[in-house]
Amino acid sequence: MEPVLAILVSLFLAVAIYLMLSRSLVRVLLGVVVLGNGINLLIFVAGRLTSATPPIVPPGQKIPAGLFANPLPQALILTAIVIGFAMFAFLIVLAFRAYEAMNADDTDQMRLAEPEGEPRPPLEY
């Protein structure tokens, strides 16, 4: 099962990189989402896929019996999903506001902070 998921992760990352190389901000943001999900899946695979027994300790015992699922990657992924979602929500609002302010979603045309065609810096002291 791991190799299949590993290939899926690489597919996610490839799509994400392709989208993020775009000049259009919306595609970049879609790439960011796909990247986040690919990485979440990566953490899941890195935590090893075991049988589906839940990691619950039976009464009177100290550890769960037999093979059980690793709960830690799930906790990590849950945190990462929440954080990634919050970041994405912020970024998409930011992109919309930037689109309103500059009338552009092409990063080549977003040059307010770094204006093009500035005169050369003075050569003398």
Binding site: V32, I43, V45, A46, A80, G84, A98, M102, R111, L112
Partner: protein
């Protein structure tokens, strides 16, 4: 399994983070009470400085201090661990934030306060303190994100188009960096089965070196992006000059340093074997950053962008000792970070005063400040000398330690680069000085009291630290020793080395 309750004194390890988070929550509730917000924020940051100071003294005297959430035995549960490096950086960062908030008293419109400038600053400080004090890699990731989202909010505070443009580039690239950090973290967990830093040290030494080095390289890439190292630093000059000067100063002084801190922690302390393999790459990137930063600053005409490039050059210098990791040079690198936090914050604040006085940010349009305000001239001159490392000022001592370390190890390339960086930074600073202060004439500039006082406080703190460098040098050397021989750290966390 609760063995014994944590003693009250040990709470000081998490108190900085708790203070900031609680303060931010209180400030959110006081949203409409603009005047009160400033005072509460100041009080919180003052107690943060005191708390970090107590922690730093204690760590300096007794060695690293750790506690694990829920009193779980060490590799389980989230560990907070303060060593000399982390506690020292947290202390300096808190002081910088305090000065910035004093500056903001005279320089922030009421609308920005209503939009939450002060709670965001406290949240940012929670992220910064947490990043410096945590002993768990995933927790470090969470603090990075706390820091990031707070800085997003601060970046776009007034919401003018210039800021939005800067924030888009800052936001996307920094989010990408933390995503890479997360990926590296997942892979490291897959390899070692632990994310507790003290536990990683032991397990990484026994792990297969090839995958470990690949993972360390991914970590290094992510942290280099956060630290604005050369090939991946395009976001910094695109964004750090767009928010109000106080915000520039805060994020410019702190966020990139957290990136360098994470790089040092990861490569030097957690995976020293992988560091040895990666060191040529780190050296090359450090050299490129240290030279290209000030070169770009020489060619830049926007005042705060020029300062941003000087900042990037300083990051390059601070990263060089990671490639060599001899204790002397490493202590120089750590001391350099302290210097960079204080001096860069002061430079950004001084730039804010200049831009405010002349109402523009293009160095070609500003002139004659020497006659217009002598106090500002003195401040800026001291800062230019400090940032390029001229002897009586703060930049000198870290560079001396660095040079001593590298010469002792017979490593002449970094020596040459550090000296070249100092020269280029001096040229860039002198160009700014001659353009802003000596050339042209202009009306007298009167400056508001609070912003000026904050800038003076930061500058004077740097000068005092430079005149009494023993504290800085001794603690930097302890910190470097603890990084290279982490036995004390591991024992404090409660694991056997």
């Amino acid at each position: 399994m609760v063995l014994h309750p944590t003693s009250l004194a040990d709470w000081v390890v998490v108190l900085p983070v708790l203070l900031c988070l609680a303060g931010a929550a209180v400030l959110l509730m006081l949203r409409t009470l603009v005047r009160l917000q400033r005072w509460v924020c100041l009080a919180m940051l003052l107690s943060l400085v005191v708390c970090d100071g107590v922690l730093f003294r204690r760590v300096l005297a007794d060695g690293p201090l750790a506690m694990t959430m829920g009193n779980w035995p060490a590799p389980f549960g989230i560990t907070f661990a303060a060593d000399v490096m982390g506690a020292g950086f947290a202390l300096v960062a808190a002081f910088v934030a305090l000065c910035v908030v004093i500056y903001m008293r005279g320089d922030t419109p009421e609308s920005a306060v209503r939009d939450g400038a002060y709670p965001l600053i406290l949240l940012l400080m929670a992220g910064v303190s947490g990043a410096f004090l945590t002993g768990d890699l995933f927790n470090l990731y969470v603090w990075f994100e706390v820091m990031l989202i707070a800085s997003f909010g601060l970046m776009v505070l007034a919401g003018n188009p210039l800021q939005l443009d800067g924030a888009v580039k800052y936001g996307v690239l920094n989010f990408l960096a933390t995503a890479l950090f997360l990926a590296a973290l997942g892979l490291l967990y897959g390899l070692l089965g632990t994310l507790n830093m003290a536990d990683i040290i032991g397990k990484a030494a026994r792990a297969d070196l090839a995958p470990l080095t690949a993972i360390a390289a991914l970590f290094a890439l992510a942290f280099c992006m956060k630290a604005a190292m050369f090939p991946v630093n395009a976001w910094l000059p695109a964004s750090y000059h767009t928010p109000p000067p106080a915000i520039s100063a805060l994020i410019g002084a702190l966020l990139t340093k957290v990136g360098v801190y994470a790089l040092v922690r990861m490569l030097v302390m957690l995976t020293p074997e992988a560091r040895e393999i990666l060191s040529p790459a780190i050296l090359a990137v450090g050299i490129a950053t240290a030279i290209l930063g000030p070169l770009s600053a020489i060619a830049e005409t926007n005042l705060r962008r020029a300062i941003g490039f000087v900042l990037i050059g300083g990051i390059g210098v601070a990263v060089l000792p990671i490639a060599g990791a001899n204790p002397f040079a490493l202590s120089g690198g750590l001391a350099y970070l302290v210097h960079a936090m204080l001096t860069m914050a002061a430079l950004y604040l001084a730039a804010g005063l200049i831009e405010r006085g002349r109402d523009q940010s293009d160095t070609r349009g500003i002139g004659g400040l020497y006659a217009a305000n002598s106090l500002l001239s003195v401040l800026f001159f001291v800062l230019v000398l400090a940032v390029s490392g001229v002897p009586p000022f703060l930049g000198f001592w870290p560079k001396l330690l660095l040079l001593q370390g590298f010469i002792g190890a017979n490593d002449w390339l970094p020596v040459f680069v550090i000296l070249l960086n100092a020269l280029l930074t001096l040229i860039a600073g002198a160009r700014l000085w001659s353009r802003l202060f000596w050339r042209g004439t202009g009306d007298r500039v009167s400056l508001p009291v609070m912003p000026l006082a904050a800038t003076i406080a930061l500058t004077v703190a740097g000068v005092v630290l430079a005149l009494m460098p023993n504290v800085l040098i001794a603690s930097a050397q302890t910190a470097a020793y603890d990084l290279i021989n982490p036995a004390r750290y591991i024992a404090a966390v409660g694991l056997s080395p």
